[in-house]
């Protein structure tokens, strides 16, 4: 696929929005190139959803401007609504109707007319492999199917810009893959996708550009590779004898990012070395350890987690709650 270097189809400048005590958006700037998937990455409460709500005309910003598909979201929301699709964190469907009926009703509310709405519903069900379930009530659908139908519902008018607010949160890996495939498919049609996610992995898989957002503003932006270059990963080595830990650390020092000390965990015989982002090959690591005479039981290259992204970019954990959960999980 060629790289689209189109002009910004979603353009935000200095967006601010306060809800009571919470400054949800605090000077958000964003430029999403046309024909790409753009990832808004951030923890709960970072302002991702509020940003999407502003772009999709659901929320009016206190300050700043946002232009979507050439139209200002505050001055001409009707024009924006004719050009966008929105799929939120829930399956925004009528559970007591069939999948097909849901799509038809949405089609009619998009003013397609009765006949075209029927036709579009059939087309979409067919194209996204839901035709077999089209005449079943949505309440009988699995979580993954609901999300897929929800995603399809936002495609009724072939939107210029599609907003996906955490499209895969809470889904099993298989359903997540299906959503990802659908999103990739859409971009080949020329739709620009702005998706929010808490998963670095998801942004990495789908997005050509990522903006990391925290406390209502963008704190880093770039391609996934550029961001990872700033974040780096870790090499985790488990040695058979914990007296080897020091030796292992010295052996891997050549690979480690400078200025960051490795973590030694004598109890678990674990050495964790922060590394830069040059692609590392497992055999190189093993060779280094081997030459140093260290018996490694397990060696792994760990991609940075969202927590580490935030640690690196903000110097603090993603959120208090998140880090507590992590502690318990460990």
């Amino acid at each position: 696929m060629g790289t689209h270097t189109g002009e910004a189809i979603v353009l935000a400048e200095g967006l601010r929005k306060r809800f009571g005590e919470t400054q949800a958006l605090d000077g958000l700037d964003l430029a999403v190139p046309a024909g790409t998937v753009y990832g808004l990455l951030g923890p709960n409460g970072a302002g991702k959803s509020t940003a999407v709500r502003v772009f999709s005309t659901l929320t009016r910003p206190d300050e700043g401007t946002a232009v979507v598909a050439g139209h200002d979201v505050v001055r001409d929301p009707a024009a924006v609504r004719r050009r966008i699709g929105l799929a939120g964190q829930h399956a925004a469907l009528d559970e007591q109707l069939t999948g097909r009926e849901n799509l038809r009703i949405f089609g009619r509310l998009f003013h397609l007319g009765r006949a075209k709405a029927r036709q579009r519903a059939d087309e979409l069900l067919e194209r996204f492999q839901l035709a077999h379930a089209g005449d079943r009530l949505v309440k009988t659908y699995s979580g993954g199917m609901r999300r897929r139908l929800d995603l399809i519902s936002s495609l009724i008018i072939s939107p210029t810009v599609l907003f996906l607010d955490e499209p895969t949160t809470g889904l099993d890996p298989r359903s997540r893959n299906e959503i990802w495939d659908t999103v990739r498919d859409l971009v080949t049609d020329g739709t620009t996708v702005l998706l929010t996610t808490q998963y670095l992995d998801e942004a990495d898989q789908l997005a050509q550009n990522i903006a990391v957002i925290d406390t209502g503003k963008v704190i880093a932006a770039g391609t996934p590779d550029e961001l990872k270059a700033r974040i780096g990963g870790r090499i985790d080595v488990v040695v058979s004898d914990n007296s080897d830990l020091g030796e292992a650390a010295r052996a891997l020092a050549v690979l480690a990012s400078s200025g960051v000390d490795p973590d030694l965990d004598a109890e678990r015989n674990l050495l964790s070395v922060p590394v830069g982002t040059e692609s590392l090959a497992l055999p190189d690591i093993v060779r280094q350890l081997d030459q140093a005479g260290v018996k490694a039981v397990d060696v792994g290259i760990r991609k940075p987690t969202l927590d580490e992204v935030f640690l690196t970019l903000t110097g603090k954990p993603a959120t208090e709650d998140e880090s507590e959960k992590e502690e318990v999980a460990r």
Binding site: R53, S56, T57, L58, T59, R60, A78, R81, R82, I84, G85, L86, G88, Q89, H90, A91, A92, L93, D94, E95, Q96, L97, T98, E101, I105, F106, R108, L109, F110, H111, L137, S153, S154
Partner: protein, 271 residues
């Protein structure tokens, strides 16, 4: 806005409203249980209240208790109609359907207008069932076709007003659970009235509330129009002395308050 533009805005608003209405009616097709419940409520209440209470409650001035009771049951069924709109709207809110609607190029007022329109149709249907149940158990309308139709028209007006209250409360409630908690609060509203017993015997404060309760004036209005027993006489509170006017007045007042509130809520929610 130019006249043609306004005209087309109005037309698309109307067609969106009809779409939302047909969506609600379509749902009934898939929920035979809901239809059974709609039919069962009047049947159960006529049997329960008519025969269980009726066996022990004497009617002032004599008469058949079921004839006395039916107008109140019509009103009760109508007031409980608030739950329909409230539940549907709150559920849509919880699932994010409202957000999707608001991100679409449809008229934002289509949801409340479509919802109340479908409520009106459904409740007209359940009035027919309720009347049939009543006829089966000995209730009659004695004042001719004009007064009878007038009574049903008054009920539907009240129902339409109540349905707007439901739409507004549903839009305030963030999800179905909150909506379900509001339900039991409707019981006292229907009970502190003259639906089951005359208000004369109630303690003063309660009696004043009951006398001014729209449920009471609507009940008396129906008794008057149907020619059923239990129309109080003597020194009465104004709404009971002018029940038809009072019921129509209450309905118009509710509409005047809740239509703008609900429409504004749908236009601006989340902004």
């Amino acid at each position: 806005m130019t006249a043609p533009a306004m005209n087309s805005t109005f037309r698309s608003g109307l067609s969106d409203g009809l779409t939302v209405m047909s969506r609600n009616l379509l749902k009934l097709k898939h929920q035979p249980g809901q239809i059974v419940a709609t039919f069962a409520f009047p049947l159960v209440s006529v049997v329960l209240f008519g025969y269980v209470f009726g066996s022990a409650i004497p009617i002032p001035g004599g008469g058949n208790y079921r004839e006395y009771l039916m107008p109140g049951l019509f009103v009760m069924g109508t007031v409980f109609g608030v739950m329909g709109a409230l539940t549907v709207i709150a559920k849509d809110n919880g699932l994010g359907v409202m957000d999707r609607y608001r991100s679409m190029p449809m008229a934002r007022s289509a949801v409340p207008f479509g919802q109340t329109a479908s409520d009106l149709l459904v409740s007209a249907g359940s009035l027919v069932v309720m009347a049939a149940c009543g006829l089966l158990f000995g209730w009659r309308a004695h004042n001719g076709i004009g007064a009878t139709l007038g009574a049903f028209a008054l009920l539907l007006l009240l129902q339409y007003a109540v349905s707007w209250v439901g739409v507004y409360l549903g839009a305030l409630a963030k999800n179905e659970e909150t909506a379900a908690r509001i339900g039991p609060l409707i019981f006292p509203i229907t009970m502190i009235s003259n639906v089951f017993v005359p208000t004369e015997g109630m303690p003063a404060v309660l009696r004043t509330i009951a006398d001014w309760n729209p449920v009471s004036s609507a009940t008396i209005a129906l008794r008057e129009l149907f020619g059923n027993p239990g129309v109080p006489t003597g020194d009465l509170a104004w709404p009971l002395a002018n029940p038809v006017l009072a019921t129509a007045g209450w309905s118009v007042l509710l509409l005047a308050i809740f239509v703008p509130l609900a429409v504004r809520r749908f236009r601006n929610a989340g902004l």
